[in-house]
Symmetry: C2
Subunit: 331 residues, 2 copies
Amino acid sequence: MVTQRDVARAAGVSLAVVSAVVNGTSHTRMKESTRARVLEAMQQLGYQPNQTARSLRRNRTDMIAMILNKVDNPVYGPLRRGVYEAAAEHGATVLLGDADTMRSGSRFLTRLLSQGTVDGILIRGEGLLDDDVKAELRSHPKPILVLEHALDHPWIDVDDLRAGEIATRFLINLGHRHIVFVGGTGYLSQQRYLGYKQAMDASGLAPAPHLDTGFGEQAGADGLRQAMQAATAPTAIVVNNIMSAVGVLAAAHDLGIAIPDRLSVVGIHDVDLMQHLRPAVTAVRMPMYQLGRAGVEALYDLIAGRPSAGGVITDPEPELVIRDSATRFAG
Amino acid sequence: MVTQRDVARAAGVSLAVVSAVVNGTSHTRMKESTRARVLEAMQQLGYQPNQTARSLRRNRTDMIAMILNKVDNPVYGPLRRGVYEAAAEHGATVLLGDADTMRSGSRFLTRLLSQGTVDGILIRGEGLLDDDVKAELRSHPKPILVLEHALDHPWIDVDDLRAGEIATRFLINLGHRHIVFVGGTGYLSQQRYLGYKQAMDASGLAPAPHLDTGFGEQAGADGLRQAMQAATAPTAIVVNNIMSAVGVLAAAHDLGIAIPDRLSVVGIHDVDLMQHLRPAVTAVRMPMYQLGRAGVEALYDLIAGRPSAGGVITDPEPELVIRDSATRFAG
DNA sequence: CCTTGTTGACGCAACGTTAATTCAAAATAG
DNA sequence: CTATTTTGAATTAACGTTGCGTCAACAAGG
């Protein structure tokens, strides 16, 4: 391994100068010619800084962790992009973790909890972590920021309540009266359900209970089946989770329910996949990219000991993307 | 920060003993009572080892990088699981990277190339990296292993050729004569196409040229449209990439082509999503979990300086999962 | 009795980097 | 021409850990 010591020797300067060249330190000065000589030697020898030594000395790793419920949920694509970009602007790399791999005692968690691994942690959907994992995180010395609500940590949300409201209001404006809210579980889903409820209440309609069947494709299918068993079948549904929308479409197909003719569907969260389904799914797009960026900024506030802004992201607002899965009620 | 020094002081022992307790070193011995006292002090003070210092001293980070073309492609779910599990067995954590973030000069790549970040790198689909990035990787001092073929590095593949053959043979056995191969680009796709070609040749059928429209939903839609423009329209298609299958279904719907009645579809690679589409997609399941595990084992061979096995994973073989998107040719 | 072996522990030198401190030489001011 | 400031750089002490070398105390063997 070629170290600064080797470079220093080759360039005929001291270690301090090499370090200064690497870091652009202003304190230790040097002639331009010396700088060039050092750079030349670095090039020649193929010097690569040793992150470990650097981290030890500076007591920061320039790495942050981001924990997602399920890293391959396409909803997180823009979120990841926002986090990566903002992290890069802070000179940091992102260690991606899956809530699945965050079992208590797991290698990943142990590593995260030990010192000198990351400068801070970003968690999306704290609600899906085990209680004991949460307890371990609570005692973690490094800053933790939760995307989409937390009881014990600073947090930033997108406007889930508003998303539920937008989806529901759209269906109401299309003339629907029997609308159900399907899928999800936990705090975020409750918020969206609350938005649904507010929209229903505001229009004098009776909100149906939350069919909190969970996440994923199967959850959507289950939710639809439950919904259709009601005394008066709904003519429209708001699907909490976007992957559940796939399940809703499948179940509707299997039950012989035509979408959108007999049932209108609006999803919350938008991903590319939605425009490639048939019918293409009308959905509420959430500002996930901005959430990612804001999360990193807030985390770095925490890391720097500054007070962090936090709160709900209202700019941009959730936005309805109209496709083919919802249509005017033709009762 | 509480260090081994603090623990040593609290337990009334030397640094060496604390280190030995932490690492279970046999060289430095101690009475069971001493060990207990140290453990007690660690507990009391909430000692967490400093990974950075540890890595510097031991010259290994117990972290490996895994680069995927697109981390949220569900195809990689089992691959990631295999990699995480095997890595954990080696006491390592996984730094997940996206080929998108591997642009030359990116923070992620810089970090990866500098020393003391990872002990080795696992790359899936090297073919999708920029040439300059590949050049930078080539000069990397740490072991690199490529999943699914490489020219310059050790590699492990799943049997892509066989997958293409299995999919095609299945359609041939259903009585189809005009079968096309759609989607993808690069080495892997060529292998699968080769399998398709071999199956066609073996049955005395004329293979159609590879419609290498790339990856993703849109690529599938484009591929199908191209395929249907042929003088004699195909009655069956093999879709190279699983996400492209979604696009094929959408395009078929838009063109009024009934699947499977007028067109049979078989996808290569299988993911949960396929069973939730309508029609549910018949697909060839690849041993991605095993690929992940084998990749990590081979990488650790390299890290340890042992000769690495490498080659094509033939156990288990690619396996056909029959659903509803392919049926007997009713010409 | 001395010799040899074992137990239980300590001391210390790295690992590669950074940044504060120091200092000689050159440039500028008075 | 001396005093002061600036420039250009070297020395050095950490950062927290690990593992080799050492060693005193005690036990067992001859």
